[in-house]
Symmetry: C2
Amino acid sequence: MTVSRVINDHPAVKPNTKKKVLTAIQQLGYERNEAAGLLKGQRAMMIGLIVPDLSDVFFAICANTIEKLARESGYLTLIVSSGHDVELEIQQAELMARRKLSGLLLVTSGAPDAERMKRVIAEGLPIVAFDRPLDGLGTDAVLIENRLGAEEAVEHLIAHGHKRIACVGFDSDAYPVAERVKGYRSAMSLHGLRPNLSMKVDSLEGATKWVDSVRLKADAPTAVFATNYRTTVHLLRAFSERKVKVPSEVALIGFDDFELAPVIAPPVTTVGQSAVDLARRAFRLLLDRIERAGDTERSPEKILLPATLIVRESCGVHPRSKKTAEPA
Amino acid sequence: MTVSRVINDHPAVKPNTKKKVLTAIQQLGYERNEAAGLLKGQRAMMIGLIVPDLSDVFFAICANTIEKLARESGYLTLIVSSGHDVELEIQQAELMARRKLSGLLLVTSGAPDAERMKRVIAEGLPIVAFDRPLDGLGTDAVLIENRLGAEEAVEHLIAHGHKRIACVGFDSDAYPVAERVKGYRSAMSLHGLRPNLSMKVDSLEGATKWVDSVRLKADAPTAVFATNYRTTVHLLRAFSERKVKVPSEVALIGFDDFELAPVIAPPVTTVGQSAVDLARRAFRLLLDRIERAGDTERSPEKILLPATLIVRESCGVHPRSKKTAEPA
DNA sequence: TTGAAAGCGCTAACAA
DNA sequence: TTGTTAGCGCTTTCAA
């Protein structure tokens, strides 16, 4: 019918006719049925978002941002929390392809099978990776400068006289943590300092054990770089339990800023990253891909976003005052 | 075709034929096309979730839980963060109905127009409300005992000798906060105490102002009940800035537990509620509704979940209360 | 127990 | 500029 033309505002419709159709649509309360379009091979006005853990504030903020942007562009957002399960992640991606979603934003939990992923993309589901890269397929990606951020933190400690700086954390096969460890290593080696890694500290008990194992040694670290939020908190509690004063006895910088970082005692120096920026850039890239779907061989874009040191008090080199830095 | 019968395993197919079809499906890599079913009037294997703010940890945990359960039942989850906008919320609900979702889990941000909502339900989208009730439509609901939780907190303070107890917070037209205020009021009046409300404290500045306005008075409150997480944190900071000691000079109990509540100094006494339970119950209710779709007039279910007092140190009456060390 | 026919609502291709 | 025809992949009805 002409109706179809009106709806998709095709140029070749007499204004008069168009008006009449529009009126009729109003009166009859007509609503377009997307399913029919799908059947004809169109894509659904929906994007997918897969993250390792939606209950993690960082990803929750990403999801919030993406959903809002997507909505503003007319898309609904299908969110999957993969629970760090790569197989699940890929299955859900395949499912989304089958359901003809317009695109997928993916924080991968590992290294999904490249062949299967390629097939997903070939089925018409453009993918943009963020926070963690997706190797082997030429996807766009938005990443954080984890390595540089870690370097900056460790440099900061070194610049203020620390030589025995430990790196504590866990989950070191996850990309962001691995990068942060690399940053730690490179800063240390640049200054001829011996790295001291403890990468299995994933609980309060673990942190307490680590503190115990280390505090009485002659060469006990004078500063600690924690590779992530969780570790930072566990260490803080462990130090508090063992009455090790932060920062006077040991300095601490943690990767990942968090809302209460400026509130707790002592206010924690962190390396912060903007979940909102990350999500926004990723979404824009995806929208680009979707809109220029047919575009031949646009080369994949890689965007790097900074991680910035937020100096508060736990690193011991902030002039003590009542004023504390605000969260980033 | 017979194929259709096999897929939906209709009884009337010879086992032999069935086997052959199944083999063919395997070989050809056949994948069912959901869109066609939609066109014939079936529902999509998808549920919707609308929350006021997905970046709020509480709702993030709800979303995480619901997505997981939905996935395990074969549903995808469409998540919308309404930004506390009732109009947006209702628009998205309508959109979901049009897209033939199987059901909707809704944390409403106000009181959406009952007529429009009824139409949504009539279009075949069952709705279950949680965290906040949906009045006027006979929907199922899962709610927290906000009022009882608040009462318990205030009773706790009263039982330990406090008489001048202030209630501080904001957003008192939101259902949960309103209920908590009611709980505060009823506990106070039960003991013949005069309520002291300050319900516009929504920032650190506001909290500091409030502290200033109150600390030098002869009848300054000896205890505070904070109606939500944000207020709790702001008050804590304000007290710290003004060197008002918690709990020795003023006791504090905050509604909403949070991850760092036991970690900060002093560990905060809170009233906690389980986002996981809330989400789980809501999902089950929705699945019920979906599965017995045709069921005539099943009366709406209301489930109430407890909010429980978690006594730590900020209320000053913890049995194991140790000295809270000066911030290192 | 299986097959054939029709149609869900839309759009692409063509005809008028 | 508008209308006609056909078909997307499935299910439902009826016939074989």
